[in-house]
């Protein structure tokens, strides 16, 4: 693997950040509609790291268990998108979405499914708008829900090793309610990154035209 594939120059990074901004803005708008509360987003972080350090970037900040809704995406570039939040936030999030009418028991029954659906809306909105900007189509898998620590969340991609490099994009989101917060994260392996760089270059060209 040449060095060139391992790096993004400043402009590419800016462009990628902007693409993620577009995606997560849509995701935040969706989340806002669902929970009917203010949602704030951080500036996206874009890092090229090993899979293991991607996990520890989130892991060192999270002591309790996590829930992740994950979706695979395939197309000119492929990888995995995740909506991650602390396990204790799960029910609050579902509660915020369905409102107060539903009983506790029904709510608990529905937690897993509601999380998958929420993740689906947020991640699809995010990836879909990015794909539109790049003028390519991405095929997205059905959402899955996983629980565990940060390593479990990231180790499901194919059979690549811990030491393989990935493009790791993540943002923090926080709902105006001191309980609910989490991350939207994307992991792409490096052959995808190479294709992504090409698409980003095209995107930059279109913008500058």
């Amino acid at each position: 693997m040449s060095d060139a594939t391992l790096t993004l120059d400043d402009l590419e990074r800016d462009a990628l950040t902007e693409l993620v901004n577009i995606g997560v803005s849509r995701a935040a708008a969706s989340l806002r509609k669902m929970v009917n509360k203010q949602v704030i987003l951080s500036v996206p972080s874009v890092e090229i790291v090993t899979r293991k350090s991607a996990a520890s970037l989130i892991g060192q900040r999270e002591n309790e268990g996590l829930i992740a809704v994950h979706q695979q995406f395939e197309g000119p570039f492929s990888g995995r998108a995740l909506l991650i939040f602390p396990e204790s936030n799960g029910l609050s999030l579902v509660r915020a979405i369905v409102g107060d009418e539903m009983g506790e028991a029904d709510l608990a029954d529905m937690e897993e499914e509601a999380l998958a659906e929420t993740g689906n809306v947020i991640l699809n909105g995010c990836l879909g708008s990015m794909a539109n900007m790049l003028q390519h189509t991405l095929k997205m898998s059905l959402p899955g829900v996983r629980r565990g620590n940060s390593t479990i969340l990231f180790d499901v991609l194919d059979n690549t090793s811990d030491q393989s490099f990935v493009l790791f994009l993540y943002i923090n989101f926080s709902v105006q309610d001191r309980q609910i917060r989490g991350y939207i994260a994307m992991l792409m392996d490096l052959p995808s990154l190479e294709k992504l760089k090409k698409l980003i270059a095209d995107f930059i060209d279109r913008v500058m035209a």
């Binding site: 402009l11 800016d14 462009a15 902007e18 693409l19 901004n21 577009i22 803005s25 849509r26 935040a28 708008a29 704030i40 951080s42 500036v43 972080s45 520890s56 970037l57 060192q60 900040r61 999270e62 002591n63 309790e64 602390p86 708008s129 539109n132 900007m133 923090n172 926080s174 105006q176 309610d177 001191r178 309980q179 609910i180 917060r181 930059i204 913008v207 500058m208």
Partner: protein, 488 residues
């Protein structure tokens, strides 16, 4: 462009530079027109009149530094494609060929279908701010100071790079409050306590222990924060700084330990003196009794003279031991015990002390001045101890050709006694230690004592609820004892 307009614009630009005021723009996306105020026109080198009607966005892009143009265009493209928030720093060219840094904040307004229709925002000159921010960043890194900002009611906190370093975290702008709280020692206060119902954190500074996320090391940090009003949300933000105080604490702890040890040693020594003094008294008493017996039987002159000298020495030893015991009592906490005579008069006592001293020093002059109208409740033996000590000092250290005065008076609720002698000023360094035990007036003083006299005198003053002070100038030195008359 007409010259006068150019001049006017320059002036406006200058005025705006001083004010640093933000300027506003509105970008009608459907019509691709940019409408903005005169300040925006000035700062982007456009025609103010045309801009109030709307101009092509090309004019605006032309005012941007070529190195920043692509970044700005990318961010604008993001807005056109659905990004909500625009927040960018970039450079605008100036007429003189230089540039200024600006910060642009904007947001898109969407139609029902979610398409952006308007892009509105403001622009502010941050050239100076950027310089200060950079200086601050350098200072914070050098000083190891991390900064944070918490919007009340949110689970996340915005932090600086240095802040992350202090906690051993990978640098990030936004981190969950819970993450930080987890790193804090369970017995210490949380950095932001989300369980506080009104979110009111401590405004005073607070020290706490953390376990660093990277190496598990325990460190002490100090947090200082305060509340500021959040202009954007009408809510409040809790902003503050964090720095490492582990080393400072270690130094402080060591110093405390050393102090404790020293205090322990001093205490032991004083106890030793108390015991020693006590044990020396009995053999001395029998020596004194023995001398009295032998003196009666002594016949020859030589023996009588030697015995008298020996008696004087025993007397002196005994008074040294008394001093030592008084010192030990004062230092060991119980203070000097008193045997107060109520309703007694002090003038006869004072007159007797003066007479005794004059017998021993017939060459000196001691003037007295008594103005005592009320009974003074004192321990007569202790008062005698104090006054003879002070008079003895005055004779030893005062100018021999100047009279000594002893005055005593009652005034209001105070009894005041002053002993003044002529002579040169007592040096500052000696004045400072005057009432400390083992301090002596002169380095080479072979004269009596352990340097305990003034210490004991001041302890006697204290025991009476009073004070003993010294003043000294080029002509004279005076010691003043004051005590309240209602003292038990």
């Amino acid at each position: 462009m007409r010259d006068d307009i150019v001049v006017a614009r320059r002036q406006l630009e200058l005025a705006l530079d001083v004010a640093g005021a933000p300027c506003a723009w509105e970008w009608d996306i459907r019509r691709d027109r940019l409408v903005a105020d005169a300040r925006f026109a000035a700062i982007t080198r456009q025609d103010a009149v045309a801009l109030t009607d709307g101009t092509s966005t090309n004019c605006f892009f032309n005012s941007i530094h070529p190195d920043d143009l692509k970044r700005v265009k990318l961010a604008v493209a993001g807005i056109m494609a659905g990004s909500e928030i625009f927040s960018k720093d970039y450079r605008l060219l100036k007429d003189d060929g230089g540039y200024r840094w600006v910060h642009a904040n904007g947001r898109a307004i969407f139609d029902e279908d979610g398409n952006p229709t308007m892009f509105v925002g403001n622009l502010v000159d941050v050239t100076e701010q950027k310089r200060i921010t950079e200086e601050l960043r350098v200072a914070q890194t050098a000083g190891g100071i991390g900064t944070f900002e918490h919007r009340v009611g949110w689970a996340t906190i915005t932090v600086s790079e240095q802040f992350c370093r202090l906690f051993g975290l990978h640098p990030a702008r936004v981190i969950p409050v819970a993450t930080l709280n987890e790193l804090i020692h369970p017995d210490d206060r949380r950095i932001i306590d989300l369980s506080f119902p009104d979110d009111h954190q401590d405004v005073s500074s607070r020290e706490f222990r953390i376990r660093r996320a990277d190496n598990n090391q325990e460190r002490w940090l100090t947090r200082r924060g305060e509340y500021v009003d959040d202009v954007d949300s009408a809510g409040q933000r809790y902003v503050g700084v964090v720095y490492d105080v582990t080393d400072a604490r270690q130094v402080r702890d060591k110093l405390q330990q050393a102090n404790d040890e020293l205090a322990g040693i001093a205490h032991e020594r004083e106890q030793f003196i108390a015991v020693l003094g006590h044990d020396l008294r009995n053999p001395l008493a029998s020596m004194s009794a023995g001398l009295r017996v032998i003196s009666k039987d002594a016949t020859d002159q030589r023996t009588t003279r030697v015995l008298r000298l020996m008696g004087g020495s025993v007397q002196r030893m005994s008074s040294l031991i008394d001093d030592l015991l008084d010192l030990a009592r004062g230092r060991l906490g119980d203070g000097i015990s008193l045997n107060i005579t109520k309703g007694g008069r002090v003038e006869p006592l004072l007159a007797r002390i003066v007479n005794e001293i004059l017998v021993a020093h017939p060459e000196r002059l001691i003037a007295t001045d008594f103005d005592v109208h009320r009974p003074v409740n004192v321990d007569h033996a202790r008062l005698e101890q104090m006054v003879s000590n002070l008079l003895g000092n005055a004779i030893t250290h005062g100018a021999s050709d100047k009279p000594i005065t002893l005055s005593a008076k009652t005034e209001g609720d105070l009894f005041e006694l002053e002993i003044r002698n002529g002579g040169t000023r007592i040096p500052e360094a000696i004045m400072k230690r005057l009432f400390q035990p083992f301090s002596r007036g002169e380095e080479n003083s072979r004269k009596q004592g352990l340097g305990l006299g003034l210490y004991i005198a001041s302890e006697i003053a204290k025991a009476h609820g009073g004070t003993l002070n010294a003043t000294s100038d080029d002509a004279s030195t005076s010691f003043i004892f004051r005590m309240p008359l209602d003292c038990q």
